[in-house]
């Protein structure tokens, strides 16, 4: 903009690039290297090359069970998060600026409050005679206190609540960008609310839903505070194993190998999701084209 010289650009980018490059990207390189090192004893590893860490991962079915459990819990939580976040986002996106901002800053509170505060709140609620059971028994839904702590149910409830904000924000962005006159036009041409929603609103909100879903799934897959506290160490997932191996056991090479296997499989999942959504969008475009051809309307 202001000058043609290159040096200001370089100077402006340098501090941020140094910090992100050294403190953020470089550790991933260390992670890969260390996953091939040999574990000796707690917090001691030597640099002898080995594949033992990966071999242990694939030979011990315990870790495969952990992997499957993590994926299962994450998929369920993400699906419920999407189902609950969508109507809320749709509601917020159609409000006036002032109240919309107020509600959005309320929705963002769990993000700012952090995982620890959310988890503590849930733990208080999930106690034997805590709020959840108080309500359930008060309404006569449950005769005896339901066990939430130490169960997958408890973890899923905690995860869904924590990540609704992550899902709502991109959804509000793409739902809010839909021109209201499009919906009005559809209605004035005789489409009812359901049809307007299915054919106008839903397709246009897919980009927000996809980015929210990917982000939420990623967070769910690598969560460790919620499963650790609400699962009471009875339900092990990737995050709790990684913490246990790295901090309690001190087996960094194995923790690294598990992490690399995990991030690679997440990457594959993301790639798959992208391919599927692209195919979906393509078929949608084809549908519209064929409808237009039937109606005799040229593009």
């Amino acid at each position: 903009m202001l000058t043609k010289a290159k040096w200001p650009l370089f100077v402006l980018l340098l501090p941020g690039s140094l910090i992100i490059g050294i403190v953020f990207l470089l550790p991933f390189v260390f992670l890969i290297i260390q996953s091939f090192w040999t574990y000796e004893s707690s917090f001691v590893a030597n640099t002898t090359f080995t594949l033992a860490n990966y071999a242990k991962l694939f030979s011990d079915s315990y870790y495969f069970d952990v992997y499957l459990r993590t994926v299962k819990i994450s998929l369920i939580s993400t699906a419920i998060t999407l189902i609950l976040a969508y109507p809320l986002a749709r509601f917020i996106s159609r409000l006036g600026t002032g109240i919309k901002g107020f509600l959005l800053s309320l929705v963002a509170l769990p993000m700012i409050g952090g995982a620890m505060i959310q988890t503590m709140g849930w733990m208080a609620m999930m106690m034997r005679y805590g709020m959840l059971n108080g309500i359930l028994m008060g309404l006569g839904i449950a005769k005896e206190p339901v066990a939430f702590l130490g169960t997958e149910l408890g973890i899923i409830i905690g995860l869904v609540q924590s990540f609704i904000p992550l899902m709502v924000l991109p959804l509000v962005a793409s739902l809010g960008a839909i021109d209201i006159s499009l919906e009005e036009a559809a209605k004035s041409l005789g489409a009812n609310s359901a049809r307007t929603f299915l054919e106008i609103v839903l397709p246009l909100s897919i980009p927000g839903a996809v980015s929210g879903t990917i982000l939420t799934l990623m967070m769910n897959l690598t969560m460790f505070v919620t499963p650790s506290i609400l699962g009471q160490n009875k339900i092990m997932v990737f995050g709790t194993i990684a913490y246990q191996q790295a901090i309690s056991v001190g087996n960094w090479p194995f923790a690294s190998a598990f992490a690399i296997f995990f991030i690679l499989s997440i990457g594959l999942l993301a790639l798959l999701a992208r391919t599927v959504t692209k195919a979906l969008q393509k078929s949608q475009v084809n549908n519209i084209k064929s409808e237009q051809r039937i109606n005799g309307v040229e593009l």
């Binding site: 903009m1 202001l2 650009l9 402006l12 980018l13 501090p15 941020g16 140094l18 992100i20 403190v23 953020f24 550790p27 991933f28 260390f30 992670l31 609950l84 976040a85 109507p87 809320l88 749709r90 509601f91 901002g101 800053s105 309320l106 929705v107 963002a108 509170l109 769990p110 993000m111 700012i112 409050g113 952090g114 995982a115 620890m116 505060i117 959310q118 988890t119 503590m120 709140g121 733990m123 609620m125 106690m127 005679y129 805590g130 108080g134 609540q161 609704i164 904000p165 990623m218 460790f224 505070v225 650790s228 160490n233 990684a242 913490y243 790295a246 901090i247 960094w252 923790a255 992490a259």
Partner: protein, 268 residues
């Protein structure tokens, strides 16, 4: 008629989901005044006993103080590194611009726990004298700076989009040097975005538990890490809940002030 009923249903459902999202925060605040030690519901009585205990607890105050020191240092560093970078990304067309932008934002997307695993190994090898920076103040602050930088860059980029470049050209054509133009035209316009990213960055660092619990070590135990290890070993106790409720009240007040004064939700 049906339209009206639909609207009522939509509002009720939205309120219920909202209540669910805010439930833990609300419950923490209620529990901090609850007489019962076991978080019974409905509350058995009102008390300020736990707040009294908190104001007498040196240990929790120390943890909060460490968190505040880490968060303010990291937020300052994050602004120093993030604002110039955002400015460069917005105002210069150069090859690799969008690539660099996604690199800068990547700490928001890549799983923190996996990065943290690499980070403890890396930090344990970086030495000043005979000590590694793993578990040192510098180490924690650097790690938190990485968490804050993407927020700063995203929010400052958003506010830079509101700046009309013509204003800057006008100032310069009237004889202002680029530095003066930046200080007197650009900075005031992007100030709300900078302010929000400073506050947001501070709070994200203040409440971080994932990265902190990996790199914290034993000397600088921040408030969320203290909570985590205590709950894991001794279970939930009213004092810990009260300290968290105190932080929650603080966060809600900041969020509401931020929304009222500069509409901070547009940057989130």
């Amino acid at each position: 008629m049906i339209e009206k009923m639909n609207r009522v249903v939509v509002i009720i459902v939205s309120c219920l989901i909202m209540l669910f999202v805010l439930a833990p925060i609300i419950v923490l605040v209620i529990s901090s005044f609850n007489l019962s030690r076991y978080f019974e519901f409905p509350p058995t009585g009102f008390t300020l006993e736990w707040y009294q205990a908190f104001f007498n607890s040196k240990e929790y105050q120390k943890a909060l103080l460490i968190s505040a020191r880490v968060a303010s240092s990291a937020a300052a560093l994050g602004l120093l590194a993030g604002i110039p970078a955002a400015f460069a990304l917005d105002r210069y067309k150069f090859r690799g611009n969008s690539f660099l932008q996604s690199i800068f934002l990547s700490p928001l997307l890549l799983p923190q726990i996996i990065w943290a695993l690499g980070l403890i190994q890396f930090f344990s090898l970086v030495r000043f004298g005979d000590r590694s920076i793993l578990g040192s103040f510098v180490g924690i602050v650097l790690a938190h700076t990485v968490i804050i930088i993407p927020y700063v860059i995203r929010m400052v980029l958003t506010s830079l989009h509101y700046v009309d470049p013509d204003l800057e050209y006008a100032a310069m054509s009237l004889g202002a040097k680029p530095v003066r133009t930046f200080l007197e035209i650009t900075i005031p316009i992007i100030l709300p975005g900078v302010l929000v990213s400073a506050v947001f960055g501070f709070m994200v660092s203040f409440t971080d538990v994932v990265v902190s619990s990996f790199v914290a070590g034993t000397r600088y135990i921040t408030f969320p890490v203290r909570m985590y290890s205590e709950i894991r070993t001794e279970g939930l106790d009213p004092l810990a809940v009260t300290v968290s409720a105190f932080v929650v009240i603080f966060i809600v007040i900041i969020a509401m002030i931020g929304e009222r004064t500069i509409r901070w939700s547009r940057f989130i």
